[in-house]
């Protein structure tokens, strides 16, 4: 009993520590950085969630999903719908009557609710899409998920209630450092812990050899669906955070190009490596921005020449991606003890 409560306390302590650090960051970082750099930081966070969540589907489970933008779009639009039509007006009312702490806290709680609602609806769609398409393998699944992502986008394009093709403006800009990195840490930590559990190993087994995985009692369909639900949930939260950051959503954001960005992150980092996905997400976010000054210097936009060239060189020299199948604890021996091998 003592052990049980101690372990529980450890987790609670960890949670509180993370929240405290994030809160401290939340109050200092936006004032320290200029808005442009801060924006890149937030985009890094969103892309990390996107990459890490797709990594579970594509990298760990080996299912080639090309519809990640679709899940993001659902999360973004559902959460924006709630905060625009329900939560936002409520907060406005509250600001008029009870300004101060009560309003601040309610706003944060409602924002969390909006994100989670977005994530859950994406997860539900992930489940629905997952079930029939998991009978397919490899490139066939890729095409089905690609088509599904486009269907979502076209449906949103024709929904007047969320602005249709004009885009959805006036979403409360509630995203902040705290919530973005709260979900980054949630996605990253669950991914790492998954790797150390029998469920994560089952996903890897499915990637390695489906027939052998079945022969040792792994329910392949159930695990593939689980991977899709997990991936879709976090993709949904990434979309929700993004929508509430720029306070505007446009269906054009969620074309298949967005899905490919996510795939690039996973492949660049190394299929199945959580560390790789994080690093690759940061690189792919920062690199195009870092090349911006070059554009001013040459007067021509070379960015989209140099960026793909860099990706190409990297894939030629390291086809397995930056980290391959490795994680940070395989690369830095000092941290090895952390791995419960």
């Amino acid at each position: 009993m003592f052990k049980r409560s101690r372990s529980f306390l450890k987790q609670i302590g960890l949670f509180i520590a993370i929240c405290a650090v994030l809160l401290a960051g939340n109050s200092t970082i936006p004032t320290l950085l200029n808005p442009y750099i801060f924006m890149i930081l937030i985009y890094c966070g969103v892309n990390i969630i996107m990459g890490v969540s797709l990594n579970v589907i594509n990298g760990l489970c080996g299912e080639f999903s090309m519809g990640h933008a679709g899940f993001m779009a659902i999360g973004a639009y559902v959460s924006a719908f709630f905060s625009f039509y329900t939560f936002g007006p409520f907060i406005d009312e509250l600001t008029a009557t009870h300004p101060g702490m009560t309003m601040m806290l309610t706003k944060q709680i409602l924002f969390l609710a909006a994100i989670v609602l977005g994530g859950i609806s994406a997860a539900i769609v992930g489940y629905i899409v997952g079930l029939p398409s998991l009978r397919l393998r490899g490139d066939y699944l890729g095409i089905v998920t690609l088509g599904f992502g486009e269907i979502i986008r076209v449906v949103i394009l024709n929904l007047e209630v969320v602005g249709g093709a004009r885009g959805f403006a006036g979403i409360p800009a509630w995203s902040n450092f705290f919530w973005v990195f709260f979900f980054v840490i949630a996605a990253v930590m669950t991914s790492f812990r998954m790797l150390k559990s029998y469920q994560g190993r089952a996903l890897l087994a499915i990637r390695e050899d489906e027939i052998a995985a079945e022969s040792i009692g792994i329910n392949i369909t159930a695990y593939k669906v689980k991977a899709f639900i997990y991936g879709a949930f976090f993709a949904g939260t990434a979309g929700a955070l993004l929508g509430h950051f720029i306070a505007y959503l446009n269906p054009a954001t969620f074309t298949f190009i967005k899905s490919f960005e996510a795939i690039i992150i996973v492949v660049l980092g190394g299929m199945g490596s959580v560390t790789g996905a994080i690093v690759a997400a940061i690189i792919t976010t920062i690199l195009p921005e870092a090349l911006r000054p070059l554009q001013e210097f040459t007067k021509i936009d070379f960015r989209m020449v140099i960026y793909p060239l860099l990706l190409l060189t990297l894939m030629l020299t390291r086809p397995q991606g930056l980290f391959g199948h490795k994680e940070y604890y395989d690369v830095i021996p000092f941290l090895k003890r952390k791995k419960r091998a």
Binding site: K3, R4, S7, F8, Q11, M189, T190, R193, M194, K196, S197, Y198, Q199, R201, A202, L204, A205, E208, D209, I211, A212, A213, E214, S215, I216, G217, I218, N219, I220, H325, R340, A341
Partner: protein, 253 residues
């Protein structure tokens, strides 16, 4: 008496081709039965039907009076039948220990929440699994390779690892598909001893397919001979060796 697995008139047709026809077998507890026959005789098809990879066209498979025909492969494994493959199917990029731990997969039960929180339940089960799997690795002297990638093991060790992975599911019946394929004489002898040992230690019933006559004749108590999907002979190793039909199937007229 005490028959664990009943197979009645098992038949598998692929379109017009009859791969296995009216295969009958009763496996008693702790028996070691060999299944031999020329290439293409349908031996592996029998294994695939027993493990649910194929659904038999006709016939019944009964394990402790439970019908296995409609079950999926993973369900059959949880009922207590484990197998190895003719061409090794390890999880090549995973560690040796992970391969065995995956075999222990069906005995793990903690949920997603326990995983995310790394709860005591999680720790207890993971530690237990790790311990059990390390003990298993010791049987085949693979414990010092536990953290190597499975693909880096020598061929013979990969064969043994695959058997270990099947053993980790804690089966009642173990199906071995050509366990000695590609092994040299010395390794085959070791393998024979190990099969006997695990059978005793885990109280296993073993059905094995093998081309290596020394192994089959040396350890099997009973042998079935398949040719073109038909069972052409059944009996003790002695009887099989002198059976004219078997000799004809192997050597021709």
């Amino acid at each position: 008496m005490n028959t664990l697995l009943h197979i009645h008139d098992l038949t598998m047709r692929f379109a017009g081709l009859v791969a296995v026809s009216e295969f009958n077998l009763g496996l008693k507890k702790n028996e070691l039965v060999g299944l031999i026959g020329p290439n293409g005789a349908g031996k592996t098809t029998v294994f695939n039907m027993l493990t649910g990879v194929y659904t038999p066209t006709e016939g019944q498979i009964l394990l402790n009076d439970e019908l296995l025909n409609p079950l999926k492969p993973h369900d059959i494994t949880t009922r207590g039948i484990a197998r190895t493959f003719q061409n090794i199917r390890l999880f090549k990029n995973l560690s040796v220990l992970d391969n065995v731990r995956l075999g222990y997969h069906i005995h793990m039960s903690y949920g997603l929440f326990a995983m995310a929180m790394e709860s005591p339940h999680y720790e207890k089960e993971e530690n237990e699994a790790r311990q059990k799997c390390m003990d298993l690795l010791k049987i085949f002297h693979l414990q010092q390779n536990a953290h190597q990638q499975a693909k880096n093991l020598p061929y013979g060790a990969q064969r043994r690892l695959e058997i270990l992975r099947a053993l980790a599911t804690q089966p009642k019946i173990l199906l071995l598909d050509e366990p000695a394929a590609g092994l040299n004489a010395r390794e085959t002898e070791d393998l024979m001893a190990t099969i006997q040992q695990i059978r005793k230690q885990f109280d296993l019933t073993i059905l094995l397919i093998e081309h290596d006559m020394k192994l089959v004749m040396g350890i099997c108590e009973r042998i079935l001979v398949l040719d073109h999907g038909e069972t052409i002979a059944e009996g003790t190793p002695k009887e099989i060796q002198s059976n004219p039909t078997v000799i004809k199937a192997y050597l021709g007229e």
